[in-house]
């Protein structure tokens, strides 16, 4: 003990780590009544670390060239390298879990209205993280160079091309569409150059961006304080009983939850990988033959379903982009200062509609494109749009009730 103590003292004299630890862990107070969903942020962080570590091992053996990509992933990593399979399984599971956790995290944020003042910046940076994460997932999906990888990428790069079908300013939109498609593909056809830049983006550019954004996100959360499930901003000085120190109260709870989360994670890694490494992707990419069922990964299916339900490609693309944009401007749409679905009955109902609407769109997106499917897609798409568009009105009504009650509790 003596020696360790002295080493810590030595570092502390120079780096003031004890002060840092105290201010970050103990003096940092969080609401005592945080609910379970608040732990998703921690899960996301843990998954991010898992992705970086497993990705590093895969990076050692993956070869970003059309001739070698499939073999390096499927022969070298899965067969030749001891535990190569383990790291590929972890990376594939991690990718899916990462998206799942981020969605749960976002829905939690929407439910508790964590995007409202003073947390607008937290939300906006979080939205950017979500975008970069989608790009990371899409680029990573191409790398194993299987049939699904290849055709998924082709279809994705063609989606911005829908702009060319614009009813007005045709030439203008066409030029933009062509530029975007060309930029994404790195040429008119998918070549080694395309694969090389997708690889570079996936292993360095996007992860660096993510790292920076996650850092800012965490800082902003600390600066603005964690939201309260009650939707009331308690004063830390006036209500010290409503707060607890981050360590050990939260850290140990989240530590335990994280371990159980990892137990589930590794169940998938060892015993249930077939949904994350789908069979169709074990067929090498063939530019001359499209596989029978080509759909994006599940985390984009809701957007995809909205896109394909709308008969016009252009308006499909507009709707697709509008959904993303609505997410960004949530703090503006939902303008009233009232927070948390706990105190907002109308919002609670709207949230349920939004949640089930998105789930339904996702599941519809996984099914064959039939006329009935398109009709259902339109209906649930309308529900999701309805959620966003009704928010200003809901805000107005609920704020009216709140005023009528005397506007207390704030």
């Amino acid at each position: 003990m003596g020696l360790i103590q002295r080493i810590i003292d030595w570092i502390d004299e120079r780096a003031h780590v004890r002060e840092l630890y105290k201010s970050l862990m103990i003096d940092y107070k969080v609401p005592k009544n945080l609910t379970f969903p608040y732990v998703f942020g921690v899960f996301a962080l843990v998954t991010f670390v898992i992705q970086i570590v497993s990705g590093m091992v895969l990076l050692l053996y993956y070869k970003p060239s059309i001739a070698d990509a499939f073999d390096s992933a499927t022969y070298t990593i899965m067969g030749e390298i001891p535990f190569g399979w383990l790291f590929r399984h972890i990376h594939a599971t991690g990718a899916n879990f990462f998206m799942a956790i981020i969605y749960l995290h976002m829905f939690t944020g929407i439910y508790y209205n964590a995007y409202k003042k003073p947390r607008e910046l937290v939300w906006i940076v979080g939205w950017l993280i979500y975008l970069v994460l989608i790009l990371t997932a899409l680029s990573g999906y191409l790398l194993p160079w299987g049939q699904l990888s290849y055709w998924g990428f082709i279809v994705t790069t063609e989606i911005p091309g829908s702009l060319a079908d614009a009813p007005i300013f045709k030439d203008f939109f066409k030029a933009i569409a062509e530029t975007i498609v060309l930029w994404m593909k790195g040429g008119y056809v998918v070549t080694d150059i395309t694969l090389g830049r997708v690889f570079g983006s996936h292993v360095l550019i996007y992860p660096l961006l993510l790292l920076a954004l996650v850092g800012v996100h965490l800082y902003l959360v600390r600066a603005a304080g964690i939201s309260n499930p009650d939707g009331i901003e308690y004063d830390k000085k006036k209500h010290p009983d409503k707060f607890v120190p981050f360590h050990p109260y939260m850290t140990l709870k989240e530590g335990a939850y994280t371990m159980w989360y990892l137990a589930i994670f590794f169940f998938f890694v060892f015993f249930h990988i077939s949904h994350f490494l789908p069979p169709d992707n074990f067929e090498p990419a063939n530019p001359l033959k499209t596989p029978a069922h080509i759909a994006p990964e599940w985390y984009l299916l809701a957007f995809y379903e909205v896109f394909r339900s709308i008969p016009s490609k252009f308006w499909g693309f507009v709707a697709f982009s509008a959904l993303l944009l609505f997410l960004l401007i949530l703090p503006v749409l939902d303008w009233s200062p009232l927070k948390s679905a706990r105190r907002r009955p109308l919002f609670f109902v709207a949230f349920l509609a939004f949640m089930y609407g998105s789930m339904a769109l996702t599941i519809l997106g996984s099914m064959e494109p039939t006329p009935l499917n398109a009709k259902l897609g339109m209906i649930f798409g309308a529900v999701v749009f309805g959620f966003f568009l009704s928010l200003p009105i809901i805000s107005f009504i609920e704020y009216g009730w709140y005023k009528a009650k005397g506007g207390k509790e704030q």
């Binding site: 570590v53 091992v57 050692l60 030749e80 390298i81 001891p82 535990f83 190569g84 383990l86 790291f87």
Partner: protein, 182 residues
């Protein structure tokens, strides 16, 4: 009682955490160390020596290592090289003692100092007394055609791979007039 239980659990957490960390390192390290096994595979190399002229060196690769195949004239005299003292192979002898009488043989062409590839200089150099020599350009090591050290930093002669002569074929990697890597 309360405190001792807490200490017990925290000790358990610490031990379990350390064990988990070490266990997680195992697959990581294995996955990163591996390819040695595959790289060491090109086990047997056959070299056709029918066209190899005296004083000529052919470069090939055995187990991923650069390997020289050399033919010396029948009357080649190696006795008047001045060898560096104490630089002996793993048998404790000079290479010449093992290879003498064999006009064609293979040597691992990797300088025993720091792993550069020596150059073959049949015309000789000043350091070798004007006689044919392998010269390592990195730090100035000189070897006789048998791989024995004449001068410079190399601590031991060039390695001799196991090899066998079958008519016009020198088979590197199979037991013959040299039984093992020396």
């Amino acid at each position: 009682m309360e405190a001792s239980r807490r200490d017990f659990i925290s000790l358990g957490i610490g031990l379990l955490g350390a064990a988990g960390g070490v266990a997680a390192l195992y697959p990581l390290v294995r996955a990163m160390l591996e390819p040695s096994k595959i790289a060491a595979l090109g086990a047997v190399v056959e070299v056709d020596i029918s066209n190899l002229q005296p004083m000529q060196v052919r470069v090939t690769s055995w187990k991923g290592k650069t390997t020289f195949v050399i033919r010396l004239p029948e009357d080649f005299k190696a006795d008047d090289y001045k060898l560096k003292e104490g630089a002996l192979n793993s048998k404790g002898t000079t290479n010449y003692e093992i290879l003498k009488g064999h006009p064609v043989f293979a040597l691992v062409g990797i300088c025993t100092h720091l792993g550069c590839i020596p150059l073959w200089k049949p015309q000789g150099e000043e350091a070798s007394g004007g006689k044919p020599t392998f010269h390592c350009p990195c730090h100035g090591g000189y070897y006789t055609p048998y791989g024995d050290v004449i001068a410079g930093p190399p601590p031991r002669p060039l390695f001799i791979p196991p090899q066998k002569l079958e008519g016009n074929k020198l088979i590197i990697g199979e037991k013959g007039f040299v039984q093992e890597l020396i």
